[in-house]
Amino acid sequence: MKPELYEVWGDTVDARHLVYAIGIGAVVSLSAFFVAQHFLLMWVESAQMARAYAMLVGILGCLAGGAISATLFKPKRHVVEHQADPAWRAQVLVELQNEFGDLGRLADLPPETVAELREMDLYDLFANYEKDLAAAPVADAASGLSVSGSRS
């Protein structure tokens, strides 16, 4: 049977798994609470403390219920290891420009940041960008205009 996927509270779930998980969570946590309360009321002198400890056991029950559901139902997520590839980085520069307008100059940076950029292999990316900018000032002015228009 094809799973029925829904987005609930920020992530995807399978409807059937969700119903089962809630059932398990309810049964495990409440039985932990009631069983603990039953025995603790006999063993602990102050009824109030007994009930507070029973609540603690109930909360551990919640975690146990969650753990059982986690082993039974796998996450509905597709996890891919993502390496930003260099071709994509040039694309990011365009995005940054749309977002912030002028990207600033490397000459303004403190030496530790320049070292950091070199370490991350990002220095050349920004240096080339500046070189292109110096080579084509007219084109930049035009794109600068369109950028300021789109930013509003």
Partner: protein
């Protein structure tokens, strides 16, 4: 003289470690809201009778640790770790696209360390300056709560709609109190939990309605792109001042001081505003991204610390968004901690700890949280993010919270407690979704109902 003090310190240390470990773990789970998690667990610690210093260190160490590990899903997965991580998403995503998410992560948690260490002495200082006005504020508490509720509602997304929605919301709470009162049941935790967990309750109800269900339907699972692991220099515990450059450390310190003083404003708003302030002063885009994300994550720490500590030290009344929400059990957790509306009489951490104790235990909590969460995040971020996304299903997270609703509701008021959580949660969840009547406003609405209304009648 020495032995009891030593015992208190040992308890405070132990509870601080416990809070830091638990919330460092919770911080890894994306979307685990601060109020939903901090408030019930702190309440539990209060009701179990843990001594006052232990209650304080548990809460503070938990909050500080959570706002460090929340950097893991934020930087590596591109999904906000919790509510306060949302203002960091833009910078985090751009740095991810540049291929340097580990830089975002390292800068974020280094900013957190610096800001947290600065915030405690600053908060104590500001509290001492405000303390002379404490008595006047306590006497007029019912009116201040009403004014604060209206102000917080006005500055929420809902604006006038949120201000006006306060009236029916307060009426519902008064009605529920009258109803449970007939059976001799007096509830408070159930209201807190209902408000905090409202969005989940509303989502589960929506899933049962055919029309809503159709709009929540997804044809395929979400794709999460996890950034690869990068071995980083600096050893097991890199010096945060070396991870940041001097400009970044300076901006983090400045924003930490400012956000410690502005304790009445919403932490999310302060995080956004101070980030913009820093960003507008830095020219190069890479430097701007890294500096803004550092300062912003620092602010998530300092606002939380100051917004909890200043009202606790100066007034004993929950007069800030954090104090009204996640830190609420430090002020009001009947029968142990109480706030009397009519007289402004309080019995909570404000009366149990001196200013110096707040300072000492506050620093202890922050240092414990740093020693646990900082090296953990630095060294195991990738493995933690990978494990959580591949092993912890969302069904399991929801099941845990449903269990929490059942246990807390039935523990506090039997079936009535449970019904109150569901009623308040459903109403609050929908008001928040459709009117922008957010959780902070709802908490202030609750305080208006229990503090202002009795004083008026």
């Amino acid at each position: 003289m020495i032995a009891p003090l030593l015992e208190q310190i040992v308890i405070a240390l132990g509870m601080g470690i416990l809070g830091a470990v638990i919330f460092a773990g919770i911080g890894l789970i994306s979307g685990s809201d601060e109020t939903t998690t901090l408030a019930p667990l702190t309440l539990l610690v209060v009701l179990l009778g843990v001594p006052a210093p232990g209650v304080l260190t548990f809460f503070l160490a938990g909050a500080v640790a959570k706002h460090m590990t929340h950097a893991v899903p934020t930087a590596l997965l591109g999904i906000p770790g919790d509510t306060l991580a949302t203002p960091l998403m833009r910078e985090a995503n751009l740095l991810r696209k540049l291929g340097v998410p580990h830089i975002a992560l390292r800068k974020m948690i280094s900013g957190a360390v610096i800001a947290a260490l600065i915030a405690v002495p600053m908060a104590v200082l500001f509290a001492v300056m405000l303390a002379p006005f404490g008595d006047a504020i306590k006497r007029s508490a019912p009116w201040i709560f009403l004014a604060a509720a209206i102000a917080i509602a006005w500055f929420s997304k809902g604006r006038l709609a949120a201000v006006l929605a306060l009236i029916p919301f307060v009426l519902i709470i008064l009605g529920l109190q009258a109803l449970t009162g007939q059976f001799g049941v007096k509830l408070s935790v159930s209201y807190f939990l209902g408000i905090a967990i409202g969005p989940l309750i509303a989502a589960l109800f929506a899933l049962l309605a055919p029309d809503e269900r159709r709009s929540m339907r997804r044809s395929e699972v979400r794709t999460f792109s996890l950034s690869p692991d990068v071995k980083s220099a600096g050893g097991y515990f890199p010096n945060p001042l070396k991870v940041l450059d001097s400009q970044q450390s300076r901006w983090t310190a400045i924003t930490a001081v400012i956000s410690s003083a502005t304790f009445v404003f919403s932490p999310v708003a302060m995080t956004v505003i101070l980030g913009e302030l820093v960003g507008s002063r830095i020219k190069h885009v890479y430097h701007r991204l890294t500096t803004v994300i550092t300062a912003r994550n620092g602010v998530t720490e300092s606002t939380y610390i100051a917004e909890a500590l200043i009202p606790l030290i100066a007034f004993g009344l929950p007069l800030s968004p954090v104090a009204a929400g996640p830190a609420a059990p430090l002020f009001n957790a009947p029968p142990r901690f109480t706030v009397d509306s009519a007289t402004g009489e309080v019995h909570n951490l404000h009366t149990l700890l001196s200013t110096w104790e707040f300072f000492g235990y506050g620093m202890l909590a922050v240092i414990v949280a740093i020693l646990i969460a900082y090296p953990f995040t630095m060294n195991y971020a990738y493995r933690a993010a990978s494990w959580v996304t591949r092993k912890i299903s969302h069904e399991a997270v929801i099941a845990t919270f449903v269990g929490l609703i059942l246990v807390i509701g039935i523990w506090e008021g039997g079936l009535l407690g449970l019904l109150v959580i569901v009623t308040v949660g459903l109403l609050g969840g929908f008001l928040s979704r459709f009117l922008g009547f957010n959780i902070g406003v709802q908490f202030m609405g609750y305080y208006t109902a229990v503090l202002t209304v009795p004083a008026l009648l």
